[in-house]
């Protein structure tokens, strides 16, 4: 589904991202971990054609993202608050996204009905603009908005951050279901190793912009990651 080739990004001579080759097959739940500055958000931004790669390209579906915009119709993403429109209420925002993705109000309402638990009665019919919501609630809105209109690729940057424990658990359920049941390719980045190993079939570790680990998730993955990040030799190999 996604093919990264010879991708690099350099700012003033400093290379912040360098990935020679990375394939993400359709329906995979893909986790990206790495310390601050490892290049996670840069990679996602390049994937969404928000920044221009210095070299190489990213192919999403049939097209290279910086050449055609055809990928936009099947890709949904939530990176940060700049993906929300502050002066809309949650409902209005969902309908707006729905309209952009060819869904009418009834379609959107039907989808939202499935997230009543996830919203925990804090989002809908609250008579609040998005800009006045708490960070966690903003995140809930942003995440659910990515699921409108049956996207084939969903990209979430740090979806677990700022969420309360109950919502984190529910979000894990949603992500697992997406990949397993509907064949959506989900890309998630996280600092929480436990969460990411739980929901992702495959985990890639970035360090200083390069892929240093590419693991198929198993029982041992969490230990391996913990060992890696505590800078010790892995106990299990």
């Amino acid at each position: 589904m996604i093919h990264i080739h010879d991708l690099s990004k350099t700012y003033n001579g400093v290379t912040v991202l360098k990935i020679d080759e990375l394939q993400i097959p359709k329906g995979e739940s893909f986790g990206l971990v790495g310390n601050n500055g490892a290049g996670k958000t840069t990679l996602f931004s390049a994937l969404l054609d928000l920044i221009q790669p210095t070299t190489g390209y990213i192919q999403n579906g049939e097209v290279k993202v910086h050449e055609s915009e055809a990928w936009k119709s099947h890709t949904a993403s939530f990176i940060d608050e700049s993906f929300l429109i502050g002066y809309l209420t949650a409902e209005e925002y969902f309908y707006f996204i729905g309209e952009l993705r060819g869904q009418n109000k009834a379609d959107v309402d039907k989808l939202l009905a499935g997230f009543e638990d996830f919203f925990n009665d804090e989002i809908l019919n609250k008579r609040k603009y998005l800009r006045d919501l708490s960070k966690g609630n903003m995140k809930k809105v942003g995440i659910v908005a990515t699921l409108i209109g049956n996207p084939e690729v969903v990209i979430l940057d740090e979806p677990f951050a700022n969420l309360d424990p109950t919502t984190q658990i529910r979000l894990k359920g949603i992500i697992k279901k997406l990949a397993a049941e509907t064949g959506v390719t989900v890309l998630v980045s996280s600092h929480d190793l436990m969460h990411v190993t739980e929901v992702c079939e495959r985990i890639v570790v970035l360090e200083k912009g390069s892929v240093v680990k590419d693991i198929k998730t198993s029982e041992a993955t969490l230990k391996e990651l913990e060992a890696y990040f505590s800078k010790e030799e892995p106990l299990v190999e």
Binding site: L48, D49, L50, I51, Q52, E69, K72, S73, T75, S77, I79, D80, S82, F83, L84, I85, G86, Y87, L88, T89, E91, E92, F96, I97, E99, L100, R101, K126, R127, K128, Y129, R131, D132
Partner: protein
């Protein structure tokens, strides 16, 4: 301690994104400040001789009209001057006494340009008074009294944050009084003039405004000190959201998606509401031209200029910041399945509709004769046909993010009403004036009006071409624009 505050201020000023990125802007800002300083100084020196020439006792006349000056100052301060609360949050946890933070914040307002600039009027004026042989002691106490009045305004303004209705009320009372005076019905100045004249004549009277200013400082100080909590004075007010059904717009097809959003954008954000108010103000701008009140404006060419402005208030103040209005969620727009064409068409329709409405409201100018309205009418057509595109075109290059929720920077700030945007405004104004001039000198004024109108109508034909061009710019500038919008002040 104060040293740290000052260095923080220094850095926040010189390191602000807007300031660092644009040297041209810096020069223009400096020029703008110099212009106002020069203007005030000139008026300060010139006022005395001017009034003397007009056979008026200068000081007395100044004192009579001082009430308008003082109230106007308050209104301007309310509109333009930023409140000092912004940078306080990170200081709260530092080992300072809170009272010191408040002192600093209030002290900072005292050195604001909006106070200092008055010194450039009052000091030269006082110097002239001294040279003319007025009693030095009286002049000095009068001067102190006047500056105290300015500072009273300064501290009142501290409380007035978010008291829009009050300020509008005060402003309309003053405008009303001014009108009553103009038409000779009731003159308030003899009453208020007594006070200001008293400041000169009675030495002790200067103590009144000085004491009030000091008292207001104390009140402002305790007001802030008590509200120095995140959920009190430092909190942003949240308004209950109103949802609205704009489905009737769906008849506009796919454009409606954006049109609905744009209408909400305008209705729900401070900054965009200001532009609407501005465009209403522009409606009255023509009065300066058509009443013959200002001599240099009283010629047919300037009337076209007026026509463009009267009908183009919204066009200029809103249109030139497309797409910056969407700057806070630009990445969203760039990753959604959006056609630029529909996005632009929506903004274009808003601008054209607003111009059309202004043209209709401009019917009032018929009062000044058909030629006045002809100028407004062809100005409207030109705005709809030509400027509607040009303004969006220019906007594509303006990459300053707009903070929708804040009004304090709606003018005078790098991101809006500055010389740079004015430069883009120039061709939009000069071309119709040129067209009219050509018509005026060949076949007469009617032909001139016809030429401007024809240009406007012809402009509609170029819409698709212009849209293509603008879309090209959007695409070419995409990455830079995203990066620029990320920089917040």
């Amino acid at each position: 301690m104060i040293k740290y505050f000052l260095t923080l201020e220094w850095k926040s000023f010189f390191r602000s994104a807007a300031f660092q990125t644009n040297l041209v802007l810096k020069i223009f800002m400096a020029l703008g400040a110099l212009y106002f300083i020069g203007l005030f100084t000139f008026v300060g020196v010139g006022a005395y001789y001017g009034l003397e020439k007009a056979d008026l006792e200068p000081l007395e006349t100044i004192n009579r009209f001082m009430i308008y000056y003082v109230v106007l100052d308050l209104v301007i301060k309310y509109m333009l001057q930023k409140m000092p609360v912004v940078n306080i949050k990170p200081l709260l946890l530092m080992p300072f006494k809170k009272s010191k933070i408040v002192n600093f914040a209030l002290g900072k307002t005292m050195f604001s340009f909006f106070n200092i600039v008055h010194a450039f009027f009052f000091i030269p004026f006082s110097v002239v008074l001294l040279r003319q042989g007025y009693d030095p002691l009286q002049v000095i106490t009068w001067h102190l009294g006047m500056m105290a009045m300015i500072y009273i305004n300064n501290f009142i303004n501290v409380f007035l944050n978010d008291a829009m209705p009050l300020v509008v009320g005060v402003a309309s009372v003053i405008i009303g009084l001014g009108a009553l005076q103009y038409y000779g019905i009731f003159d308030v100045t003899p009453y208020t003039g007594v006070y200001f004249q008293g400041l000169f004549e009675q030495l002790w009277m200067f103590a009144i405004p000085v004491v009030i200013a000091i008292a207001l400082y104390k009140v402002a100080h305790s007001y802030f000190l008590n509200r120095l909590y995140l959920d009190a004075g430092l909190s942003a007010k949240t308004k209950e959201a109103s949802t609205e059904n704009l489905d009737w717009l769906d008849r506009f097809g796919k454009t409606a998606v954006f049109l609905k959003n744009d209408i909400k954008l305008i209705k729900r954000n401070k900054r965009s509401k200001t532009t609407v108010i501005m465009s209403v103000v522009f409606l009255f701008y023509g009065l300066l031209f058509f009443t013959g009140g200002i001599e240099s404006y009283d010629n047919p060419f300037m009337k076209i200029f007026a026509g463009i402005f009267v009908t183009g208030g919204f066009l200029f103040s809103f249109g030139q910041f497309v797409p910056s209005w969407d700057s806070s969620y630009y990445p969203l727009m760039m990753t959604q399945n959006i056609s630029y064409e529909e996005y632009l068409r929506s903004k274009w329709m808003l601008v054209v509709l607003a111009s059309a409405v202004s043209t209709i409201l401009g019917l009032g100018y018929l009062y000044f004769g058909w030629e006045a309205y002809a100028a407004v009418f062809v100005g409207g057509i030109y705005n709809m046909g030509v400027n509607g595109h040009v303004v969006l075109w220019g906007g594509a290059y303006i990459k300053t993010p707009i903070d929708l929720t804040s009004n304090k920077k709606a003018f005078g700030d790098s991101s809006s009403f500055n010389v740079k945007t004015l430069l883009i405004t120039m061709p939009k104004l000069l071309l119709p004036i040129l067209l009219y001039t050509i018509g005026h000198f060949t076949l007469g004024p009617v032909f001139g009006y016809a030429l401007v109108a024809l240009a406007g109508i012809a402009g509609f034909a170029f819409r698709d071409f212009m849209f293509k061009k603008i879309i090209g710019i959007y695409k070419a500038e995409k990455y830079q624009t995203i990066a620029a919008y990320k920089q917040k002040n």
